[in-house]
């Protein structure tokens, strides 16, 4: 049909790129904590999505039922997830450090099913709907085209957090301790790093980030009781493709998955959903340790 076809193509590419990027940011926010804790603690925490779900529920409940504004509700979501992770780590996960991976898988799968039942019991089986705050609904006019405001905010948040995490890891003592412990746990213990406390704090940080990601991404990855199970594959893929124990790895993996998934659904709708699995298989065959993982 009519119209300027080059304009149409670039418009399509920009749209797909933009939405793919927003999806990638959500995936990253949720998965980065998992990558760090898996690399640091060697613990296969499949229940990581539960914290994202918890963050989503807390944020939506606060916003819808108690009229809490968006940003405070988001902060509360992250803090709630971080706090919830502490007793879990202290009482349960700690017993399985250095243990059989299958045990850890079974434990965390059990936790996922408990979360499904628990969420259904407390909040009902329906999907929770998030309505973006007034100042983020609508479009942002950048002159050459409009962009949805909320997705733009997601991208900015993701970029901001990547930078903050990288700076934190590279420039702070805490970050140095994490890097040391990931590199060589025994050596880190020998130089006096309290790895037990380090694990707890890192786990809380990772879970808090997941809660933040769950809340921010609530309209992309809908909050429902089966959240942790439904989106588990996405988080695992991002971590596996990115490489364990890294901050950059999941970022590039999330970009690949987010933009790739959106792009391929656009180009080949019948096979679109299948693409990320094919990509993951190809990448892991080429580099089993992931893009930035250690061999």
């Amino acid at each position: 049909m009519g119209g300027n076809s080059l304009h149409g193509v670039t418009d399509a590419i920009v749209s797909i790129g933009f939405h793919g990027l927003a999806f990638a940011m959500v995936l990253y926010l949720i998965s980065v904590g998992l990558s760090v804790t898996m690399g640091l603690m060697g613990f296969v925490n499949l229940a990581h999505g539960v914290f994202a779900m918890l963050g989503g529920y807390v944020m939506i409940r606060l916003m819808n039922r108690y009229g809490v504004p968006f940003l405070p509700a988001l902060a509360a979501a992250a803090i709630a997830a971080a706090l919830a992770s502490i007793p879990l780590e202290r009482l349960l996960y700690r017993r399985f450090y250095g243990g059989e991976e299958l045990d850890q898988v079974l434990l965390t799968m059990g936790l996922i099913f408990m979360s499904v039942a628990g969420a259904t019991f407390v909040c009902g089986p329906l999907t929770q709907q998030m309505e973006p705050p007034r100042w983020l609904s609508g479009q942002v006019d950048l002159g050459f085209r409009h962009f949805p405001a909320y997705r733009s905010f997601l991208i900015l948040c993701g970029a901001g957090l990547v930078t903050a995490l990288w700076l934190g890891l590279e420039r702070t003592r805490f970050g140095a301790q994490i890097r040391a412990a990931v590199d060589n746990l025994r050596m880190a213990q020998s130089v006096g790093i309290n790895t037990s406390r380090l694990f707890m704090l890192t786990f809380a940080l990772g879970s808090g980030l997941a809660g933040l990601g769950g809340g921010l991404g609530a309209d992309l990855l809908a909050i429902s009781p089966s959240y942790a199970l439904q989106y588990l594959v996405y988080f695992i893929i991002v971590v596996a493709v990115g490489g364990l124990g890294s901050i950059r790895g999941p970022f590039f993996a999330a970009l690949l998955i987010g933009i790739g998934d959106t792009g391929f659904k656009y180009l080949l709708p019948e096979f679109g959903a299948f693409f990320i699995y094919a990509l993951t298989m190809a990448l892991l065959l080429w580099r089993p340790q992931g893009l930035f993982g250690r061999a």
Binding site: A222, K265, E270
Partner: protein
């Protein structure tokens, strides 16, 4: 000696006592009767919201009309969650029939679940009153199935014809990749091409798809006169409309039509102003002015509060219970499977919230008005206003595909 007398006649005395007690118990038992109705619904899974709406419709009808039942007859709903899985649904139906001894089965949101349950109804001769599952051939899978909801061909064939009548020449269809989506796609294509239109392309997206942007972008690229976008209602409808809004599809001059699933009444308020002017075809809108609907809405608000909005799932459940209650009243609660089907196949309700409805005895499927609705602002809120009525539509697919 007296002891001997009694001992020898012990068995006769015992038998007489038991017989007497049994007669007494039987006499009192005949006064009270509980009709067990098995409700199979998808309380968890991706259609939980639809299931919730349907259950509310069922429960409301029972609550309001329990007093209309004949004296001594009560109704017991035994609810089971098929978790959106056909295998689970089939097992639950089996247990309901054999263990709980239900006299009727009802409910079922998803067509695959209904298809799995169908053979059991034929084997056990238990009637199944389908209150949602819309797969066109479901009523043919067993002679004990009757449907009170709708089929997608009933809605999408008329909207296809209507779109062609507007002078729109090219269409792009996008539906969810499962049987209900396929039905809606096939029906729209038939209606639109019959009216002289041409289909540019047909796309199917995966079932639990969170983000519709890549698929809607394709529509925008193709620049059809009209886009037919179908989703299984609920929150996916809002997600689809968000994609439409974010990509500026309407601003690009592309018209959008669908079945009522794209703009379910309970989601309409969350879509902003994007749906204004959109045309859909459906069997029920909360905006309908007929007295039966006003009474229904009043009762709904009283029971569930004014934050709760019924939709076409609710009305399907409501009318299904109406049919079952009419059956119980007519037969005084005593019916075989065949007697029930004889009654249900000829059932009519001239006063449903959606207008007059009846069952077609030849197909055991629903015959009802299909309304062309346009989204307008009524009292400051969006509403699906009925602008045209196609009276007493039989399922077009069955007319086009007579049984062999």
């Amino acid at each position: 000696m007296l002891g001997d007398f009694f001992r020898r006649r012990m068995s006769v005395i015992a038998a007489t006592l038991f017989l007497g007690l049994g007669l007494l118990w039987g006499l009192t038992g005949a006064e009270a009767q509980t009709i067990k109705i098995g409700v199979i619904n998808s309380y968890s899974g991706f259609v939980a919201q639809a299931a919730d709406e349907m259950q509310k419709g069922i429960d409301l009808y029972v609550k309001l009309h329990e007093k209309d039942l004949p004296a001594g007859i009560k109704v017991e709903l035994i609810k089971r969650d098929d978790t959106s899985s056909p295998e689970v649904g089939k097992r639950l139906a089996q247990e309901l029939i054999t263990r709980d001894q239900v006299q009727i089965l009802t409910g079922i949101i998803l067509s695959p679940v209904a298809a799995a349950v169908a053979p059991l109804t034929a084997e056990a001769k238990i009637p199944l009153v389908l209150t949602n599952a819309a797969g066109v051939s479901l009523t043919r899978l067993s002679p004990y199935i009757v449907r009170t909801s709708f089929t997608l061909w009933q809605e999408c064939d008329p909207i296809g014809k209507w779109a062609a009548e507007q002078g729109w020449k090219t269409a792009y269809t996008e539906v969810t990749d499962f049987i209900a989506g396929h039905d809606s796609e096939g029906a729209f294509i038939k209606g639109f091409t019959d009216g002289g239109g041409k289909i540019i392309d047909s796309v199917r997206y995966p079932m639990q798809n969170p983000d519709f942007v890549p698929f809607v972008q394709r529509v925008k690229d193709a620049k059809p006169d009209v886009a037919f976008l179908w989703v299984p209602a609920q929150t996916q409808a809002t997600a689809m409309m968000n994609a439409v809004r974010d990509l500026g599809v309407r601003e690009a001059g592309i018209h959008i039509v669908s079945a009522q699933d794209l703009l379910p009444d309970e989601e309409l308020q969350k879509m902003g102003d994007t749906p204004l002017g959109l045309i859909t075809a459906g069997n029920y809108s909360t905006a309908a002015q007929r007295p039966a609907n006003q009474a229904f809405l009043a009762a709904w608000t009283k029971e569930y509060g004014d934050q709760s909005i019924p939709d076409f799932f609710s009305v399907g459940g409501w009318d299904g219970m109406a049919a079952i209650f009419d059956l119980i009243k007519q037969t005084k609660g005593k019916f075989t499977g065949d007697e029930a089907m004889a009654f249900l196949s000829h059932w009519k309700n001239p006063d449903s919230p959606r207008g007059p409805i009846e069952i077609d005895p030849n197909t055991r499927d629903i015959v009802q008005n299909i309304y062309i609705r346009e989204v307008k602002k009524v009292d400051g809120k969006l509403a699906n206003v009925e602008i045209a009525t196609i009276p007493m539509v039989k399922d077009p697919w069955k007319e086009l595909n007579p049984p062999k």
